[in-house]
Symmetry: C2
Subunit: 149 residues, 2 copies
DNA sequence: ATACCTGCAAATGCTTTGCGGATGG
DNA sequence: CCATCCGCAAAGCATTTGCAGGTAT
């Protein structure tokens, strides 16, 4: 656990004029403890409070911006008001999300896109792909059943 | 032009308790006049003003909700603050967007997803796909050239 | 006639900013 | 020591809501 924090911290250190502070370490810890979840700024705030050491909301927002910029975190907008963040792990590159329009559940999937998509787009449009976000809205297994009742 | 407005109007009419009003017709007209663009509520507001008959912002928001609900319009969030709307045409189903992170340009593409994706997801996840949004962030042709200078 | 709609003003909710004091390197 | 950071309070901005009067059917 602490290893991951330290790795991310080192990434942070690499950048100019970005300091390692207690607040930033604590945000990272919370993100790693919730690496399987999509977590909002508000939730990070509550968790920091629960741990006995509140981090101010503006500080969390500023930290998330940095973490997103250096690629430690992915920012998602699932259309429910607040942005959601996800700790980024290389193995999970190119995973995408199914969003249930009834219950709000989010399901992760992988291999939804063709492997040569980047290449094709570069050839056909001269566009260099950096980041791909596929969101599929619909109904999950449980909600389909409820709808059919 | 008016034909399309009338068609969409008829769709509106089909739904219970949804009335056809001047404001809603005018919003639809503006959308159709800009059917090749991604347009914000603020822009619809300005255009209505320019045409000499302002529509109040809350009315536009409420109208967009209805149009989105009945599928006349697609709502996009390109991450620049305000939602963007696009008049929906069936032939354009399953088109997606390349977003240049430098200049903000939006390029439309099609055939980016496999045809059997919905089916595969239904089989593998029991999830019923309704709407798919693929957004690809990166750099357009022009901005790649600028970066290389 | 009545249910729905509009526009205004005000509220909401997420996010950002300015600034004085605190802190990391 | 000095640039950067934190937390507070306040501002910003897109969007939503309550309500009184207006309109479609």
């Amino acid at each position: 656990m602490d290893l991951q924090v330290n790795n991310a911290i080192k990434e942070l250190m690499g950048k100019n004029d970005v300091r390692i502070t207690n607040q930033r370490k604590r945000v990272l810890e919370i993100l790693i403890e919730n690496k399987d979840k999509h977590i909002s700024v508000e939730e990070i705030y509550s968790l920091s409070k629960k741990k006995g050491n509140v981090i101010a909301l503006p500080t969390i927002y500023r930290t998330m911006d940095i973490l997103e910029r250096i690629g430690t975190v992915i920012k998602h907008d699932f259309g429910d008001g607040a942005a959601k963040y996800e700790f980024f792990m290389k193995e999970e590159e190119n995973h995408h999300h199914l969003i249930c329009e009834k219950c709000g559940k989010i399901i992760e999937i992988s291999n939804a896109l063709q492997d040569d998509l980047d290449e094709r787009i570069l050839n056909e449009n001269g566009f260099l792909c950096e980041k791909k976000q596929l969101k599929i809205y619909g109904y999950c297994k449980e909600c389909i059943n409820v709808l059919n009742e």
